[in-house]
Symmetry: C2
Subunit: 329 residues, 2 copies
DNA sequence: ATGAAAGCGCTAACAG
DNA sequence: CTGTTAGCGCTTTCAT
């Protein structure tokens, strides 16, 4: 007998709906005998509370939105994985919407979140987003927002980010320590704040050391990274190390390395910023500085929970980096 | 003025709630002038219907559940990606829950789906699931179920699957055509129905050709595949081709190939069953038979939509395979 | 063309 | 200890 309701139980037992409601919640007011009768009947009727009704009443859906450019991406995956794991403990579920890096869809999605009265939204901005007015509406609707990874340049919002600066610095220092002199550094889309932060930090370290040659290149996709690498490794003076800002770039560079049968680390060293999966699929494994989507997810959850508790001040939080020795440098 | 309601609009305009409701829906009964007034006010008040209330009333949440072992998996990703893309067109959203390959969590998750009165659930069984009684309850609750990939062995359910048989056959035939004589065939967890189907089909083709030597091995994870490959490639008589049942296995095998500096395809050929991303990251690119999570997602959606329209008979549907030449065979 | 009323399933203030 | 009542926001007969 599926889809039993409080009303049905009340009718069978000839008591009031509110008594049933309270009994099921183990309310102290209700007598033990009534409680038992109710509980038993609920059991046999396989009663399950209607979350939709509860939501309407309580004005709390216990659902978080997660908006990402695309779910087909290792980094966002592990973020989502962490968030799902974490919020489930508090009885929340996730409503995941992809923006496809399209600001118009992004706005659409926010509307869906509003209409569904989600308890909060985790958002990673699309590459194309420049105007964040649409996000103000969420504030007005009292829906807390926690931005992650691609975050707006605006102190009015809560943001959790990778420690891009720190990570890029660690990688740069590792390169210097290994006495690399002729480095190819491949970064991603220059539009992105994460690219800028990583680039600035990397450059800063490198500039302290004038004896090192660094070529800076930018690739939006794996294929571009591959052809950039191809170009550099065909020079008479091959790079003695490559820095890859992301997994996507690493994958492109490594394809070139395989194509040209370049020996790592003998002929050239490789270091990447990565979440950790891709560095492990190559031999030798790639040395990387961890930028963990998983830990970012956990941090974002912490922050979200604080928002729910009514924290007012917005902050920008960072996930620290970790150096992981592979064997490629 | 966020969170306007029909009631609020009605009060301001001094008309009834039902009129407002109708006006907003462009109901023919309502006069043009009233409609206009209502629409305008709704606009300025930034009225947005409360989906929760609508759901309660209509008993239709317009949310689908998606239950997968883990979201951190390329194949499920592309499945989810396709589903999200597709159902959005019909105004549905997704509630994704991970089972972590734990049957107990699976049951928990079903409960969450029931309580939230989702319109249907897409489910990929966990590796460990043997008893599917818990899924019967969903039927009783009138929540349609569409199983995908790891499906129960039970005709009472709707299932959409990869054409495992066909795909394995295509790969086997490609190996024969290339005159490979000493093949290492690595499959996944023997418990899984998908492993069985692929293995059976592959074996059947191979057995028709007695002059070919095939070693069958099984690996639960990438690392195991790697060490299996390692073992075989250290034999005096190296395999002249490797068949990889999945991306996970391919990744493991390729790591070994890199470690031992084996030349592909000169020294050994590689062929895989894959969704297409991983084969493309190696050089030469890996020849594979496509088993697309994306297309599976689309198919699953079609089936779900039919269920919603009240189709009674359950079916098992297959996504056809496609041969993709890489250069590794 | 519009309104009143009932109800989706649940909770909680108030009353007894 | 239990019941009555009201209401969350919306849709939909049924009247008028």
């Amino acid at each position: 007998m599926a889809n039993a309701t409080l009303k049905k139980i009340a009718q069978v037992l000839d008591i009031s709906v509110s008594t049933v409601s309270r009994a099921l919640k183990n309310h102290p007011d209700i007598s033990a005998s009534t409680k038992q009768k109710v509980m038993e009947l609920a059991e046999t009727l396989e009663y399950e509370p209607n979350a939709v009704a509860v939501n309407l009443r309580s004005k709390n859906t216990k659902v978080f939105g997660v908006m990402i450019p695309s779910i087909t991406n290792n980094f966002y995956d592990s973020f989502v994985n962490a968030v799902e794991e974490e919020v489930k403990k508090a009885g929340y579920s996730l409503m995941i919407l992809q923006s496809g890096d399209d600001p118009a869809i992004e706005i659409e999605n926010l509307k869906i979140y509003r209409q569904n009265r989600v308890s909060g939204v985790f958002v990673c901005l699309s590459k194309e987003t420049t105007n964040i007015d649409a996000f103000h509406k969420m504030k007005e609707a009292n829906i807390p927002l926690v931005f992650f990874d691609k975050v707006p340049d605006n102190d009015a919002y809560d943001r959790v980010c990778l420690a891009d600066k720190e990570a890029a610095e660690m990688a740069a220092e590792a390169l210097l320590q290994k006495k690399k002199k002729n480095i190819l550094a491949v970064f991603g889309n220059t539009q992105l704040s994460i690219t800028k932060r990583r680039l600035d930090a990397f450059k800063k370290i490198m500039q302290q050391n004038t004896s090192v040659d660094v070529a800076y290149e930018f690739a939006g996709k794996s294929e571009e990274a591959e052809s950039i690498a191809q170009r550099y490794f065909q020079l008479k003076k091959m790079p003695d190390a490559v820095f890859c800002m992301s997994d996507e770039i690493l994958v492109g560079v490594m394809k070139c390395i395989q194509r040209l049968h370049i020996n790592v680390p003998a002929q050239t060293g490789i270091i990447a910023l990565s979440d950790g999966y891709f560095p492990g699929i190559y031999y030798p494994e790639i040395t990387y500085v961890e930028t963990s989507g998983y830990r970012l997810g956990k941090l974002a959850c912490e922050r979200m929970m604080e928002c729910l508790k009514g924290k007012e001040e917005t902050t920008e939080l960072f996930v620290s980096s970790r150096f992981a020795e592979g064997g490629s440098l």
